[in-house]
Structure formats: C-alpha cells, structure tokens
C-alpha cells in the first residue's frame, strides 16, 4: 500500500506504451504521413517552425505527428532538437523587398506599385463548414501568374521618400546579432533580442496583448502599412570567400505596422513602426507581433508606460509557451514534502486559535 503511492519505472513505461497506442489510434485507419501533414496541415507546421525557431518542414511535421496535434508539445519537441544543433553563424539580414510575393496587402493605400495581392487567405471565405471536405473531392488547379523577378517595393519605402516615417534604424557596425538561446537574458533588452523573443513567442499570448493595445491598454494608433507573405533568399557571409552565398529560400510573413505618433521630447512627429516577421504563413502572429513590438518601444519613444503590453520585462518573461507550459504543468509533480510542512503549520495555527478561544472563555467565566 505504501509503495503504491510512489511511481516507478514500470508505471512510466506503461504510460509511454499507452501514449503510443493513443497516438496511432484505430489501426484499421491508415496512418497519417509526414507528407500529408506538410501538405494538408501546413499552417500547423508553420506555427511549429515559427515558435520553435527552426525552419524545417519535415521535422516540424514529425513533431506534430508525434505530439498528436498538440502544437505546444510539437514546438517543445522541435526546440529540444534545435538546441543540440551547432551554430555556424548569422545570416545577413533578409531583404524582404526581393520577396517572391504570394500575398501582399496594404491598408494604407488603395493601390500601390506592385498592387494588392490577396493570395491564399481565409479573409473573404464565408465560415460555413464545407461538406465536400468530408470526402476527397478533386480540387481545381489555381490560376497562376507567370513568374517574374519584379521587385515589389515596400510601403515603408513609399513613406520614407517623404521622410514621414522613421527609418529602419541602424546598429553600430560592430554589432553582433544577439541570440537569446545562447546568452542569458537581461533587461532592458536590445530590440534585436526583443524581436527574437517575440518571433518565437506564443501566438495566443501575443494576440491577446496586441488586442489589449487596441482596446486602450497602451493604444498606439496602428495601420497595417503592409503584410507580405512569400519566399525570400537566406544568405550568409562566408569569411573565406568575402561575399554572401545563398543558403536557400524560406517562406516568411512580414508585417509592417505604421503608427501615428505626435512626437515627444525624444522624436519629431512622424509615423513610427512596429515590426513582425514570422516563419511560414502566419498573419495573425506577424500582426500581433508588430503591435506588441510597437507597444514595447514606448520607453525609446518617450511615451508613458501604463499598460501590460508596454512592459518589456512582463511581456518577454511570459511570452514563451514552452517555458510557461513547463512551469504551469510542473504543479502536477509531487509537492508533498512542502504540503506536509504547510499542513503542520495550519494544524498548529488552528490549535493556537482554539486554545486562545478556550482561555478567553475561561477568563470570561472567571469574571462572571
């Protein structure tokens, strides 16, 4: 009986076996393949790559399958793998102006060079369950534009011509891109590290924080200057060569939020920017990220810090879902040693109160 309250190796092994059974489910149904997950659950794969900070569709799909579709668990799996990989160096900054754009929209201009491209969006679908997806109906080929090398200028570049928007900002020439997975985190953070933290931050957490700024908790008057989704080239400087070489292409979502700004003691009246960049296709995440990035620039821009979304230490310390889920879920580990200590204390305090009440009664009786 006493032994029964303790776990053990056999219990853990049995649990793992049961988990594997549940993961596979009904054996009379075909098993889902990695290829199917990549092709048909691509946005789940994208989210896992984004929040795991590792661009690898096959491994992300493997993680989704292994985690039975629990995406935070999948992110955790992929991160635990990522941490074992060697670091060769940092890429040169992505040039998103050269993106092969699949979707590109601006809310600030009706039309603009390069046009508005809706791309594969849910935006104007009517959210009615589609019975044709209950079975495997054939799907038509989409209309395609001929590939071109057209460079689609960024909305921020349009505003920059007039000097109405703050520039990209510069780091000193000797600045090395930070890596928050390799250096201890310290506050206040530089913006590159902060953006890194936001890029791998939990989509739901950033969504809620971004939303809170729209509802008045740190309002920053945002306009979607531009959202673009497509493939960009990743290049890396190789010291021996003296020039950048291409490592390949990745799909990213970029959001440039343009924010009204009346000016302060630190900066003139101009449009400011919040920035979001996410692996894969994830507009919700990129938009939320750019709202929160802008909110976190409050101090830099001389604004009052009044809301949670503007509080760097609060936001960055709690945005990581792998950390958050671990610590919340650790509450299910045994705590009976501490609980025993609390139990003894509460019993003792109750006994004290009881004793005090009784002695009070005695005094009262004596007085009567």
């Amino acid at each position: 009986m006493y032994v029964a309250v303790k776990g053990g190796e056999a219990a853990i092994n049995n649990a793992h076996e049961l988990l594997a059974d549940r993961r596979r489910g009904d054996r009379s149904l075909p098993s889902v393949t990695i290829g199917q997950i990549i092709e048909q659950l691509g946005l789940a794969v994208d989210r896992v790559m984004a929040e795991a900070s590792l661009y690898d569709r096959a491994l992300a799909a493997l993680a989704v399958r292994q985690s039975r579709g629990d995406l935070i668990e999948a992110i955790f799996l992929l991160r635990a793998y990522r941490t074992t990989l060697p670091r060769f160096g940092a890429s040169v900054p992505l040039d998103t102006a050269t993106m092969k754009v699949e979707r590109r929209i601006s809310a600030t201009y009706k039309d603009l060079p390069g046009g508005q491209l809706l791309g594969p969006t849910f935006d104007y679908t009517h959210r009615l369950l589609d019975p044709s997806l209950l079975t495997d109906e054939p799907v038509d080929e989409p209309k395609r534009k001929d590939a071109s090398d057209e460079r689609i200028m960024r909305v921020s570049d349009i505003l920059a011509h007039e000097g109405l928007i703050e520039p990209d900002g510069e780091f000193p020439a000797d600045h090395l891109a930070g890596d928050l997975t390799r250096e201890p985190m310290e506050f206040p953070m530089s913006r590159d590290l902060r953006l890194q933290a936001l890029a791998r931050g939990d989509e739901g957490f950033l969504l809620a924080l971004g939303y809170s700024t729209q509802r008045g908790y740190g309002r920053n008057h945002p306009f979607v200057g531009e959202i673009r989704i497509g493939e960009v080239e990743v290049e890396m400087e190789v010291a021996e060569l003296g020039f950048a070489v291409s490592l390949g292409r990745i799909r990213v979502t970029e959001c440039q939020m343009v924010n009204q700004f009346k000016g302060s003691s630190k900066a003139p009246p101009q449009f400011t920017r919040g920035y979001g960049l996410v692996f894969g296709q994830s507009e919700r995440k990129a938009m939320s990220m750019s709202l929160v990035d802008r909110a976190l620039r409050a101090e830099e821009l001389g604004e009052d810090i009044t809301a949670p979304a503007q509080d760097e230490e609060f936001v960055i310390s709690h945005s990581d879902n792998v950390q958050a889920t671990g610590f919340v879920e650790h509450l299910k580990l045994p705590h009976y040693v501490d609980f025993q200590a609390e139990l003894a204390l509460v019993r003792k305090m109750r006994a004290d109160i009881e004793a005090a009440r009784n002695s009070g009664k005695d005094l009262q009786e004596a007085a009567e």
Binding site: Y2, P184, F327, P334, V337
Partner: protein, 293 residues
C-alpha cells in the same frame, strides 16, 4: 532526418558544458550570488528539473555515481525519469544509497545522512530569487542584492510574526550565505536548512527556466533569517517513522483510509530502508519487537 539522435556524453555539447562550468565556478567564488547563464532547452519540460539536469550534465564524468531524488525518494516518477535520462545519455553508475553517490540531484529535500567531502548536491530550483514574491521585477531584485538591501525581507518576516505569531514560511525559507547574499534554498522544507550550514559537500543550484546558477561551497556559513526574540526553528514531528522508528527526520504523512487513519514515514526512502536493514523497526512493522524485548 534519420540520424536525429546522436548526442554527446551527458547530452550537452562540450561548448555548452564549458559555459555552464564557468557559471558554476563563478557561483562558487561568490557564494549565494545568482549567476545568469545561457540555459539550454532540454528534452524535459521547464519546471521539471532542467536547471539541475544541466548542472549535473556539466559536472558528471564516466566515473561518477549518481543518485536522483524527488521529495526525498528515489522512486518518485520524475526522479526515475531523470535517473533514466543520465543512464541513457551518460551511461553512468546510479545508486539509491546516499553514501555511495558522488553526485546527488535533488528536488525538495536534502538527504538525512550527513554528506561528506567530495560529494556534490545538485538542487533543482524553480524560482531562484528569494525576493521574487516581494518584488516581481528582476531589474529591481538584482539592484537590491547588489546594495545588500534586504530590509524588505525582514519586514515581510516581521509582518508574518505580527499577523500569525510566528514566521509562517515552512519551505523555501530564506538563508543568508557567507554573511552576504540572501539565497533561496529551493523549496526544501525549512527542516533541511541547518544541513546546508558548514556542509562538507559542495551544493550547486540550477534554475533552468530562470537561467540562474548559484552555489554554496563546502564549509560555508548558511544562516536562516530570523529575529532575536523569534529564533529560527525547524519542524518537529510528534511520532517517529512508522516503518523504521527514526526520530528527528522529516516525515511524509500517508493517508491509510477514509476514516482519518494516517501514518508517518521517512521522506528519505534510502535512509528508512537502510535503518530497517540494520534491524530498526517502527510501530507499523514490528508490533512484536517490544514484546520480544
């Protein structure tokens, strides 16, 4: 994708181990000071011992003998899981015997048996900052440590006495190390605090999620905070262990039935088993022992 699982000895790569060892050396040089380190993402969840595991992985060698306990016991599920991890990635010898271990990784307890020179006790720490519940901001608490500004902690303990007639902290009871830094002993019951004082063993603390390492070198003063008129006291149990009859040890309360039946047994399972092997028996095990005497 096929050669996924090729890991270094003790999982971490050598560069990471070097980085962690540097943090450990700094921690030993400044007892009780929380050294920030670039905590890695481990294959177990944050809050489940990732800090302790990284410390152990950085100091363990093929000759080491490892013991892992959680709540004082070697057979609690998370202790089993961490022990199995090191058997798999480092192939080291493991033991449940406190005296045979060179490294003991623990969560929530310090073994009852006095540790000896050469042994290392590695604590898993959830929240390394003893001032965290008084001041949530890291930027502030680091300043408070730098200025040795611990008034707030004493005020909190004093308020406790004013409200409850006693300091109501029963675990993670703050200590002052080598007369300088106030330190969180991790959520061990305050019963274990005196064992830290002038311990012959090296004590290392790892907090993975919070990215901090701190240490108490051997033979270092560790004093539990208190007041002259309210001196620090440890928990006392009214009865000995029901299995081995030990007194002056920390006990777990085991509920026997739904009618209020309970028994108290050693939290330190190795200690309890060893005593029983040496013929000690508590009330539950040896109803006949007294009769025989």
């Amino acid at each position: 994708m096929t050669d996924l699982a090729t890991y270094n000895f003790a999982y971490l790569d050598e560069q990471t181990k070097r980085m962690i060892r540097r943090a450990i050396l700094k921690a030993i040089a400044i007892p009780g000071y929380q050294v920030p380190f670039a905590s890695r993402e481990m294959p177990m969840p944050y809050g489940w011992g990732t800090g302790g595991v990284q410390v152990t992985a950085s100091i363990i060698g093929p000759e080491d003998v490892l013991k892992v306990i959680d709540q004082g016991a070697d057979d609690t599920t998370n202790a089993v899981s961490i022990r199995a991890f090191f058997q798999k990635v480092a192939n080291v010898a493991v033991t449940t015997h406190t005296k045979d271990a060179t490294i003991i990784q623990t969560r929530h307890r310090i073994p009852e048996q006095k540790l000896a020179e050469g042994q290392i006790l590695v604590y898993q720490v959830p929240i390394p900052e003893p001032l965290r519940f008084l001041e949530p901001r890291e930027t502030e608490t680091r300043k408070m440590h730098a200025l040795e500004e611990y008034g707030l902690m004493h005020v909190k303990l004093y308020e406790d006495i004013a409200h409850n007639g006693r300091i109501s902290k029963t675990y993670a009871y703050p200590v002052k190390v080598a007369g300088r830094y106030v330190m969180d002993p991790s959520p061990t019951p305050k019963f274990d605090n005196p064992k830290m004082h002038l311990s012959e063993a090296l004590q290392l603390f790892g907090a993975g999620r919070e990215k901090r390492i701190y240490a108490v070198p051997p033979y270092t003063e560790v004093v539990s905070l208190d007041f002259e008129d309210y001196p620090f006291e440890i928990q006392k149990f009214e009865q000995p262990c029901a299995l081995c009859g030990a007194e002056g040890v920390y006990l777990d309360e085991v509920v026997l039935d739904d009618k209020g039946g309970r028994m108290f047994v050693c939290s330190d399972t190795d200690h309890c088993e060893e005593r029983r092997e040496h013929g000690h028996a508590g009330a539950m095990l040896a109803p006949s022992k007294e009769a025989a005497e």
